[in-house]
Amino acid sequence: MPSITKPKVTHPGLRKNELELTVRDYEGAMSTLCAGCGHDSVTAALVQALWELSVPPHMIAKLSGIGCSSKTTAYFAAGAHGFNSVHGRMPAIATGANAANRDLLYVGISGDGDSLSIGLGHLSHAIRRNVRMLYIIENNGVYGLTKGQFSASADIGSRSKRGEPNTVMPIDPVMLGLSIGATFVARAFSGDKQQLVPILKAAARHRGFALVDVTSPCVTFNDHEGSTKSYLYTREHDLKVTSTDFVPPAPEILATIPPTGHALIPMHDGSLVRFHAVPPDYDPTNRVAVMDYLQQHHDRGEVVTGLLYVDESVEDVHELNNTSHIPLAQLPYERLCPGADALERLQERFR
């Protein structure tokens, strides 16, 4: 059954994070995905990133829709509440969860089917609202769980396992996000943990909605020639723009991951993200230039990865609405009820 409990063997030698937790403490149930599925690599990177960030597991909320990708919420952070909801609606459910408690780290995991077809409207509106969350699209160009139909991100000309070519124009979540005002947009490849981990860390600390599009090949239905979401294709065409190292305020970790590069982007919480800009003049803060750059490379058939765009100046949904700093779900009833007198008084206008 998809959530087999993993035997927890703690090696005494494992490194600990600020909370005295080992990377094992960020793992979840055993994966039931196909051996070699890209999604499992994303899970591994996520486990690493969350550990490095020293987030208390119970302060994480994991949400997903339906799909192979959406199952992965079960495979990390066993100490966190998880919600494997319904197909395509996770961005809205996460919006509600976030509304109730602004203090948690929301990790949303979705697939290209879940996010770009049935859930496109919800994803877009969560982006607009700048709901603070780390939103990962495990993008494989297919519907894995329903056995290999093209998703909306399948490239024109890529062939399905049955040999049929895709003829419909793809939706690129990165371009989509940029065009509707996303404040954090990144793309990575599941097979490249070195790039992915720092991106996930930066995304987790972003002030608003952090969209991370991870090319995550489906070995069963889409890892063959002709598919631009296959390992082969992605490894060849991967063009790195910026490699991101997350530099958290705590000195211990600063020491272990030495900062290099040029652009220093302050995160909302005061921490800094460093960019190894490739090319050197790449500026992830200029939306117009970013879109232009991406389009140019896209036209050459290149998949640009890295932290592509970030704007920490935009307020998140709570800041925009000046919501209570105490999470709404934790406000005592006494502060919510106007009381009998107020009710008596306000009824004057109903006379």
């Binding site: 509440h81 494997n84 809205a92 509304a99 408690n101 509106h125 709404l328 919510l336």
Partner: protein, 600 residues
């Protein structure tokens, strides 16, 4: 020849025919409020089009000293302000009644009726003389006819001017214009008509401490007092004003006095699917959250209602029903979503429903909806309707018990978790078959995985028949257990053999019908159902009566269907009396339906 009608005090029905977007609403509610302030039972029904400007709109005022204020079907007086609908409006005046019209232009002689009196008043001419701006000239015509009606019906000038003065307190210029317009109409009527008309008003003391409020405002108040902090919605008539009011109330009562921070978050969602998804997400995370919608929204929420049902997440949904199917008549009232709500979503599902009958119950039931949703960890749908939601009703003043504390149901705190060997989400059910839940952010020991896919009582994924059944069987029992917690039916019984059963906004009309039937020698007992699942009391009443007439406002007898399925009553004891044209229910429709049934 016009036949003189007998003199009547505090008993008449008036219809005002206007063009929408011309500002008649304030004049009409001014009239209604004045009657209310004179202590006389009154109702006002707004029959408006699904349009913003330029189409016919009607307002009906029923005044009845006995409190019978359901919709009247013939009118003592029609105020005909819309040339487009003159013919129809004049047709609807009862014999011996009156038509008040704008005599600035001559009335088409074809429209003449010899059996009614025409009261012409040159509203446009008068207003053009006294007011300059085109805007005022249009608006003041309305206030002028209100003035004329005040004279004709004997509404105390003090009272009606008082309401105007309050309305425009602080806006002196506006106040003055309105006062002038009112006086113009009043004086003209006194000078030209035999005032008061045979049906007129007299101060009485029937509204006492009551208030005049619409259901959507009351619902919003209920949500405020229940401690709802997250609301999500998508605009839709006739539910929109629930959220408009909730927003206004939150701005006033939920801003932290020190920090200025908002102790609420209201999200206008991208659609109804998202609205309910947001509510589900927020409730899962421990907030009291709700959405308000109408029929089309309920259809769109089906999948998420099933998710909340199966994962046992509280969710409060207010359905302000309008005429279906499909887009239907968005500005007309119906009770057509009963079945759709009771069994919403594919698979085996049953939901808790609440049926308020007026704004006072909207307030009460909104609070109870949250308590039930959290106690039973499941969606609760409150079925209001356009008549309740958007019309002003005279109801008892709302009161609040300071001792009220939200029933958050079984939520384990960190301390509670200390007491538990190991927490499993769907185990350890209580006497109502409810299992404890935990909230994210509290403790890793409470962490569990919520899934709409097959799960066992430990919360684990399952595809095993027995494990799956164990959980959904408990859900069926849990739904049944809620019968003892939903609002009990209102039963008025005298031991007759005929039961009259109704729901929601049918209440007033059915009560009046019972009275009317009494007078014609047909004695009946009354039950108004207020919640689903049905309690033993509902069953009992149905059993005790040979025949039960189920009065409801839809084509297919949906409440009857639900009673057939969910009580043990034999089907042939349940007969339908239906009215579903979209206007608020009238006692005459009920009487007619029951009489037909009895004759058959």
């Amino acid at each position: 020849m016009v036949q003189q009608i007998a003199t009547r005090i505090n008993d008449c029905a008036i219809k005002l025919a206007n063009v929408n977007g011309t500002g008649s609403a304030s004049a009409n509610s001014l009239l209604m409020r004045s009657v209310f302030r004179m202590g006389i039972p009154v109702s006002g029904k707004n029959l408006f089009p699904s349009n913003i400007q330029g189409l016919p709109t009607w307002y009906e005022i029923r005044i009845n000293r006995d409190g019978h204020t359901s919709r009247a079907l013939d009118y003592d007086l029609v105020v005909a302000m819309n040339a487009q609908t003159y013919a129809q409006d004049i047709r609807e005046v009862r014999e011996g009644g009156y038509v008040l019209y704008d005599s600035s232009w001559p009335l088409d002689p074809d429209l003449n009726r010899s059996d009614v009196s025409f009261l012409g008043i040159p509203l446009a001419r008068m207003c053009n003389e006294h007011f300059r701006s085109p805007r005022e000239r249009i608006l003041m015509k309305n206030i002028s006819y209100a003035g004329a009606l005040a004279a004709a019906l004997n509404i105390e000038l003090d009272v009606i001017s008082g309401v105007l003065d309050e309305t425009y307190a602080g806006k002196e210029k506006l106040r003055a214009s309105n006062a002038l317009a009112l006086q113009l109409g009043y004086d003209y009527a006194l000078d030209h008509f035999e005032c008061p008309l045979p049906f007129s008003l007299e101060r009485m003391d029937a509204t006492g401490d009551k208030i005049l409020i619409d259901g959507n405002t009351a619902t919003a108040l209920g949500c405020l007092y229940a401690g709802a902090t997250v609301a999500a919605w998508y605009p839709i008539t006739p539910a929109t004003s629930v959220m408009d009011n909730f927003t206004a109330l939150c701005k006033k009562y939920r801003r932290d006095p020190e920090s200025g921070e908002c102790n609420y978050l209201i999200i206008q969602a991208e659609d109804e699917l998202a609205a309910l998804a947001i509510v589900v997400g927020a409730s899962w995370n421990g907030a009291r959250a709700f959405t308000s919608t109408a029929g089309p929204g309920i259809s769109l929420m089906n999948e998420l209602l099933g998710l909340a049902y199966y994962t046992e997440i509280p969710a409060v949904v207010v359905d302000v029903q309008r005429v279906g199917p499909s887009t239907g008549m968005p500005t007309r009232t119906q009770q057509g979503d009963i079945l759709a709500c009771a069994y919403a979503s594919h698979g085996d599902t049953k939901h808790i429903l609440l049926f308020p009958s007026n704004p006072a119950e909207c307030f009460d039931f909104a609070v109870r909806a949250f308590d039930l949703a959290e106690r039973f960890q499941t969606p609760v749908i409150m079925l209001s309707d356009l008549d309740i939601g958007m019309n002003d009703w005279v109801v008892p003043r709302l009161t609040w018990d300071e001792g009220y504390r939200p029933d958050r149901g079984r939520v384990l705190s960190r301390d509670d978790l200390d007491q538990v060997a190991r927490f499993f989400r769907y185990s350890d059910d209580d006497e109502n078959y409810v299992t404890p839940r935990t909230l994210p952010g509290v403790d890793a020991r409470g962490a569990y995985f919520t899934r709409g896919s097959g799960h066992n009582k430990l919360g684990g994924y399952t595809e095993d028949p027995a494990q799956y059944q164990e959980v959904i069987d408990r859900l069926a029992r849990k739904h049944g257990a809620a019968a003892a917690f939903v609002p009990e039916p209102i039963i008025e019984e005298r031991g007759t053999r005929i039961g009259v059963v109704t729901i929601g906004s049918g209440d007033l009309a059915v009560r009046e019908a019972v009275d009317l039937l009494d007078r014609s020698g047909v004695r009946t007992d009354l039950m108004r159902i207020r919640g689903f699942p049905f309690s033993a009391d509902v069953q009992g009443f149905l059993e005790r009566h040979e025949i039960n007439y189920v009065v409801e406002q839809n084509r297919d007898g949906q409440l009857r269907s639900l009673l057939v399925l969910e009580t043990c009553t034999p089907k042939d004891k349940l007969r339908s009396v239906l009215a579903y044209g979209g206007y608020p229910l009238s006692a005459f429709q009920v009487v007619e339906g029951i009489m037909k049934g009895l004759e058959a």
